[in-house]
């Protein structure tokens, strides 16, 4: 039979973000495939080298659009590691609230994104409405809906506004109630389950071969391999939460873990709101005005658990006013590039979009 070439993306309703999966198919079965990245390449790593430490906070959230805060956090922690800077206690807790809200919003987006490849638009609408409420909360806290530019070197940019705890509590209580509905609509919905169960499996050996992290890994290896637990940053060692795992990694299991993680994030936010101390939220990394802040010479790697896995900035400072080199470890790098090349062949065309969605492939962080 003749091989035929199909493109999934860059302009395709089932594709998340501006990337393209090239597939050579025989009938419905994919024979060869690879990702064509670079459509969102902006030369971030070069741009960061050219911007001051303080200016970088306006650039870095753009590395990953659906979940921008992990970039800020990773950049800030890496710089703080080199500076050996102690962040004020309150700032840690505020950061955790922001990061967990961002995780919920990214999970909701991915979960709602399931609506695209499976045709379940109700799910998508519901998820996006809830996500929109998170964006409204972000807007109140940080002054912008998407690019918050809130977590900065030395803490957070400003304290939480008055009354925001109330807003967050109302939202997470409401969301917790609705999680059941999300299950009903999505992973417990008979028609959807039929479509997604036992599709695009990820066996344990493949995890290690690819270097996949995050939900993909946890759904396959059945161990709580979460950066928040294993290498705790901020104050994740002082909150109690579970890391949902599974030993059978199909699309449904991964979505199941997503819903469970939303639940855990809600628990973490509750604890943060309860345990958050009063006090300052920001220390300046250096004396002088911001354009003359410097960071001493050094190397640091700052891993953060994003909604898609281990996300990290590798930072090299030369003692100057700008970073010497910042490398971004995109969490979706292994599953996005190598995963599609090595593991998609053998599955069906219509499952490619499910792989992209459930493994969490974020094209801007691959391209940078």
């Amino acid at each position: 039979m003749k091989e035929m070439k199909l493109f999934l993306g860059p302009q395709h309703p089932g594709m998340h973000g501006n990337a393209s999966v090239h597939m050579f198919v025989d009938g419905d079965i994919i024979k060869r495939s690879y990702l064509l990245p670079g459509m969102l390449h902006r030369g971030f790593e070069k741009q960061m080298e050219r911007k001051l430490w303080v200016n970088n906070i306006s650039l870095i959230p753009r590395v990953c659009v659906p979940e921008p805060d992990i970039n800020e956090m990773s950049f800030a922690t890496a710089a703080e590691k080199i500076l050996k800077l102690e962040v004020p206690e309150r700032a840690h807790w505020i950061r955790m609230i922001i990061l967990e809200l961002a995780r919920i919003s990214a999970h909701l987006m991915a979960y709602g994104g399931l609506g695209g490849p499976t045709g379940n638009y109700t799910l998508m609408y519901h998820a996006h409405v809830d996500r929109n409420l998170i964006l409204d909360i972000f807007e109140k806290i940080t002054g912008a809906r998407v690019y918050h530019q809130y977590i900065v070197i030395g803490g957070v940019r400003q304290d939480l506004p008055d009354g925001i705890e109330e807003d967050i509590n109302v939202f997470i209580d409401d969301l917790e109630r609705r999680l059941v509905e999300y299950r009903d609509l999505g992973i417990d919905n008979a028609s959807i389950v039929k479509r997604i169960k036992d599709t695009i499996m990820l066996p344990e050996e493949v995890v290690w071969e690819l270097g996949v992290t995050g939900i993909g890994m946890r759904s396959a290896v059945n161990k709580p391999y979460d950066v928040r637990k294993v290498v705790p940053y901020a104050r994740y060692d002082q909150v109690e939460f579970e890391v949902p795992v599974s030993d059978y990694s199909d699309a449904r299991a991964r979505l199941d873990i997503k819903i469970k993680e939303i639940q855990q994030s809600i628990i973490i936010i509750r604890q943060c709101l309860a345990k958050m101390p009063e006090g300052p939220v920001r220390v300046k990394p250096d004396r002088g005005q911001s354009m003359r802040w410097t960071v001493p010479k050094g190397y640091a790697y700052a891993p953060i658990e994003s909604s898609r896995g281990e996300f990290g900035y590798y930072m090299v400072s030369n003692g100057g006013t700008s970073p010497w080199r910042v490398g971004v470890r995109g969490a979706s790098y292994p599953q996005g590039l190598l995963g599609i090349e090595k593991y998609l062949p053998g599955t069906r065309i219509d499952d490619a979009a499910l792989w992209v969605d459930t493994m969490g492939i974020c094209s801007p962080e691959i391209d940078r």
């Binding site: 309703p13 459509m39 753009r62």
Partner: protein, 192 residues
């Protein structure tokens, strides 16, 4: 009055009839705009809220469309890297006329935060004509929707004729595309 020449009252020239039909077409067109779902850059992340229940774009008669040939609006959501620009031009040229381009965010206007990047273009209107720009980084859904209403009003007033400009200045656009892209169509391992 000396003139005895008789002009039939109801006879319109072909151009006039065409114009009338365009007006009728424009009325329906602007009340049912189809948006090509091509997320070229970061501003695309504000589109789901605008399309779904929260801001519900369908109240304006707008909806997403999967294929370029059936779409009316090409939405350039944010920055354009060279690689995307190439595909955007393919897409734009595939769309059927009349077609409109809406550019979101700072980047298509003058490069935005990527103005000094080696991979991102600075001005979109050098390569394809743009009808409406929406400021913001990124623009809130409110701004996006207001931008669309601006477009509708422009269609009504017949000022949104970027696609005509593309015909009239085709050489100029191609020249610019070539200067920045080198070659619009690429041949490499990805496109055997």
């Amino acid at each position: 009055m000396l003139s005895t020449k008789f002009t039939p009252k109801n006879k319109m020239t072909k151009a006039e009839i065409d114009r009338k039909w365009w007006e009728v077409g424009d009325y329906f067109r602007r009340n049912s705009l189809w948006l090509l779902m091509y997320c070229t850059g970061c501003c695309a992340v504000e589109l789901p809220p605008s399309m779904t229940s929260a801001y519900d774009m369908e109240r304006l008669g707008m909806g997403p469309m999967a294929t370029p040939r059936q779409a009316d609006i090409l939405l350039v959501s944010g920055y354009l890297s060279l690689k995307t620009l190439r595909r955007l031009i393919y897409t734009y040229e595939q769309m059927s006329e009349p077609k409109y381009v809406v550019a979101l965010g700072s980047c298509p206007i003058n490069g935005g935060i990527y103005h000094d990047s080696h991979a991102v273009i600075n001005q979109l209107d050098q390569y394809i004509p743009v009808d409406v720009y929406v400021a913001g980084c990124m623009p809130n859904p409110e701004s996006v929707l207001n931008g669309f209403v601006d477009l509708m009003e422009g269609i009504k007033q017949k000022t949104m004729n970027g696609w005509k400009r593309y015909h009239d200045h085709f050489e100029w656009y191609k020249e610019n595309q070539k200067n920045s892209l080198g070659e619009v169509i690429v041949h490499d391992e990805f496109h055997q």
